[in-house]
Symmetry: C2
Subunit: 208 residues, 2 copies
Amino acid sequence: MSKKISESAVRRLSLYLRTLEELDRAGHEAVSSEQLAARSATTAAQVRKDLSVFGSFGKRGFGYTVEELGRALRGILGLTQPWRVALIGAGRIGSALFEYTGFARRGFQIVAVFDSDPAKIGRKWGDSIIHDVAKLERVVSDKDIQIAILAVPVEAVQGVMDQASRAGVRGVLNFAPVRLKVPEGVTVKDVNLVIDLESLTFALSQGF
Amino acid sequence: MSKKISESAVRRLSLYLRTLEELDRAGHEAVSSEQLAARSATTAAQVRKDLSVFGSFGKRGFGYTVEELGRALRGILGLTQPWRVALIGAGRIGSALFEYTGFARRGFQIVAVFDSDPAKIGRKWGDSIIHDVAKLERVVSDKDIQIAILAVPVEAVQGVMDQASRAGVRGVLNFAPVRLKVPEGVTVKDVNLVIDLESLTFALSQGF
DNA sequence: CACAGCTTGTGAAAACCTTCACAATACTAG
DNA sequence: CTAGTATTGTGAAGGTTTTCACAAGCTGTG
């Protein structure tokens, strides 16, 4: 569909949205590409180019309306609807993610939690009960869940992924350090802090 | 110092290293750029180009020695020495990170933990005592810590960052959703799961 | 040793991404 | 209404990254 746009451009759009929300909270009504760039660690030309792919949201001589551009970006990023998310894995990472309020604030609702540990299954987290991961497919279909967060051990993750895609999950945030095999139409984003740390140590080592 | 290399190339190097370690565990002694690429989700040409920036590690007609290339990559990524890391923030994220064994396995040693909550200060986590964040500068200098992981609330993070850089920290992994201001010579990597999720929903929305 | 079969390392080409620079246009003041 | 100032949207230029394609070189076999 539509134009091609790079992964990094999309990530910048998300960043612009965060900046716009900060500006909104601070009472600003308008913003120029210059200001938006400064607060988002990029350049004015980059901001305008990124936006121009999707349309024309500003007024010459004036800039952008904070409120209006925010709405446009939410539309572009697919944030007008809330997303129903399954959290799979109720260990340390799962628990940290469940508690994190930043997801809900952006419309990501964790509507089901799963684990395979009998000691955890049936326990309550907030309003949710921890389900047996064996029931993944049923619950995910029933609750019409679109996104899964995989916070399970690396040995288990491909199996869980297979179940999730059979149940109709179309997007996945994967914390396990392995490249998942997924059917056509399923999108995976990997989170790997070791890679982040190693790109850091690379930079530090280059210093000498 | 040497050549310029892109952030994404460095991240690929880290990925190759992970793949090599898997191959090593599986008993492979040699690997071609073709095989390495297939297991790291890239192309053979890309693998060879990435490596060629740093030297020539393979043998024509044969490929790369798993063991040898692994050693070379650890050298390039700065992983021959263990790194001393401070974990700042003993909340949900901090706790998940502390428990995560993947860091230690790669030579990242969490040698000090900090928090500002009087209820947490003085408590023991494993062998570590949670220090008052007010003592950050002293402890970080004393223990010769080079890297800090910032898992504190967004309001507090710039202050903590300032202390950390005064104490001599040169690399930072930042979990707070804000662009940190740092002195020359300090490198920051941001981790922001909301951006990951939003680049996911962008992809999902494009599907229709 | 010569030859066949692989696989690397690397210039050159292609693709992709960012920056530049300016015409078009909106707002404000007089 | 006009002049002056500000800021967008966008082709074109410049830069970076990825892919291509092939000569060079290693290994094993007869």
